[in-house]
Symmetry: C2
Subunit: 218 residues, 2 copies
């Protein structure tokens, strides 16, 4: 007898993700599942976005890491509510972890919740968390071929943010090759080029977020 | 009843890894399991090393990828025997995949075989392939805190290569913080700083490899 463990795990996860999604909607929260390689700049991008979101929105962060609270400490230092999930070796977040984290966070909308997934372009792909939208962050030093090598995660992105464009003069990276590689697997997601170091074009990500703004008048 | 699937999977993998190791030793092959984040420069480093290894050694590459043959094509273009493993979503290579790949490669020693694992700092950690040594490649743009966030893979490294040091002037990265973070989990692995773009200090990696050279006289 062969048991399809993977299918059953994903099915249970999807059910919890649906419950999370219902809770997020009832709480007037727009929730972004932020996925990327290690070191692409997920935390830096989230910090830039927290800073630039209009003040009428509440905000919160769930930080996923294998180990350490380095990223959560950075978020907490700017006074934004944050809760840390340490997976202790697990290569992605799942919907049950998010359910538990929400008890700690006690975030009330209307507002934005950012979930920083584990740095990994493979494992987080199939695990829905109940998010409003999935954002994949790529970065210039990783190379323009990443969407070819990791197609599934780019295919599922609702937005692709290309970070570290301030490094373009120093690195062999073709913006048109990157765009073509994304478009080969994803025809619709906006591709937004930014630098979290200089702040360039962070506003374009804010505009994308505002397009999904929860209702401020409750 | 709870079945410890993980333990049983790893046990079976370890047994095949032992068989691979015996085969590698009998074939006078020094085998390097190259692990890193996506875009850290694994393929570029392997290409630099292939170029600089003394000519008396044979050489070969096993390329692991989720999808595509981009990296294998780069290796094949310089005339080195290469075989591609596409995991189709799997987040790491395992010992059985290597066993099968060796049938395709037909590599005879004395020589060096490089196995480029899936770009991932989590999943490859526990899966031994039968390698002589594990090399973890980090890169400057990923940040100096990666060993804190992904301790297990740095703990198991026999060598840590820090790539893209040509970008140090443009990025906020502390070499001493990185070294301290590696040393917190790994007291012995050499830490070798290189640039695959400029070729700087590739020779230091060659020296480390030569310390494990297989016997040329058979």
């Amino acid at each position: 007898m062969r048991i399809d463990v993977r299918k059953s795990v994903l099915g249970a996860n999807d059910e919890q993700a649906q419950r999370n999604k219902a809770l997020f909607e009832a709480s007037h929260l727009t929730v972004i599942n932020v996925m990327a390689s290690p070191g692409a700049g997920k935390t830096s991008l989230i910090m830039r976005l927290l800073e630039k979101l209009p003040p009428e929105f509440s905000r919160g962060v769930i930080e996923g890491d294998i180990a350490s609270s380095v990223d959560a400490d950075r978020i907490a230092a700017v006074g934004v509510p944050v809760t840390q999930i340490n997976t202790g070796g697990g290569c992605h977040l799942d919907a049950v972890m998010i359910d538990r984290a929400m008890y700690d966070l006690e975030l009330q909308g209307p507002g934005y919740l950012f979930i920083e997934n584990i740095g990994n372009l493979v494992c987080p792909t199939d695990f829905r968390l109940g998010e409003t939208a999935a954002m994949v962050v790529a970065s210039v030093p990783e190379g323009d071929d990443k969407p070819i090598k990791y197609p599934a995660i780019f295919a599922r992105a609702d937005a692709v943010v290309l970070n570290k464009i301030d490094l373009l003069p120093f690195i062999d990276f073709s913006l048109s090759a990157f765009t073509a590689a994304v478009r080969a697997v994803n025809e619709t997601a906006p591709i937004i080029n930014v630098s979290c170091t200089t702040g360039e074009d962070i506003d374009a990500v804010i505009r994308w977020l505002m397009g999904m703004a929860p209702d401020v008048k409750q």
